[in-house]
Symmetry: C2
DNA sequence: ATTTGTGCAAATCGTTTGCATCTGA
DNA sequence: TCAGATGCAAACGATTTGCACAAAT
């Protein structure tokens, strides 16, 4: 716990202390998940997990990182997203063949998907239920049941 | 139901008469859907709609067409799949960010998705039900509710 | 010091498109 | 005839990867 040193040439996103606190917490989470808390990973995870639940794509996160003064390559963003997903910190949502969405809410829940603008909206897990899911074929186990309610303007 | 059914992969697609009958029927369906029954479209639609319900990707269909002696470009396959989908002859299924699946079953039903081999299995519409779908945001209408039961070996 | 991750750009993958050429009505 | 389709290959956008370098343990 030393003082705040900033070897960044970019900017000063948010209050140094608070930011550092979040980053230390994040580093701990990464470590707990078996991921080495490197600077890019900590930065991305801080953005992801710092402010409540959100849905984002690799592009989105990349842009956000840039805006926050963290310059990571898009490739690193993809890597991080997948590593986080595997580590259980994120959940991948497949609704659109064109893009991959990631959801920081790993709890049980479903989604509205707005086909007009590609926006995702959470549906709390206890607000929706699938009944009578048939038994899967022999030797298969259900890993998850995903519900996507596709909505449209009109 | 005529005699010779051959499930071989070689050539000699099927008996000439039967094939022609299917194609005429298919042409009629295309016409009814507002699509000009061109040779490639009839050939593809015959493959698609000729043998019960199936799930396939553009690649799959392209390969099948080639195997059946119909040489169409992949671009044409994509075009046809989308046109058929718009015409209501097919339904697109989004389960995997990597590929687009098309389903010849346009009725109400859901799917098992096997994550090991990427296979889809139908779940009859009356075998599963989603209860308590929350109302969509103001000004939005529910277009469809998709359920994907992700399964895995084990 | 060793291992693991990063950045960049090039490579890949599935899908779409531009355009000259055909083809069905 | 002639709008509408096709084929090819180039264009495309999203994602992945190969490899030299940087950072974490």
């Amino acid at each position: 716990m030393s003082a705040g040193r900033q070897r960044r040439k970019g900017l000063a996103p948010m209050d140094g202390n608070k930011k550092q606190a979040i980053q230390e917490d994040t580093a701990a989470r990464l470590r707990a998940a078996g991921l080495r808390p490197t600077r890019p990973r900590v930065a991305l995870a801080s953005l992801l997990l710092g402010r409540g639940h959100r849905h984002l794509t690799a592009e989105t996160l990349h842009a956000e990182a840039a805006k926050a003064g963290v310059r990571v390559s898009l490739a690193t963003v993809y890597n991080a997203l997948h590593q986080f997903t595997e580590a259980g910190l994120l959940r991948q949502v497949v609704v659109d063949a064109a893009r991959s969405y990631f959801d920081t809410n790993t709890g049980e829940h479903q989604h509205f998907f707005c086909e007009d603008d590609g926006r995702l909206i959470d549906i709390p897990g206890d607000a929706i239920a699938v009944s009578h899911v048939p038994a899967p074929p022999r030797g298969m186990a259900v890993r998850r049941v995903d519900v996507v309610v596709r909505i449209k303007r009109g």
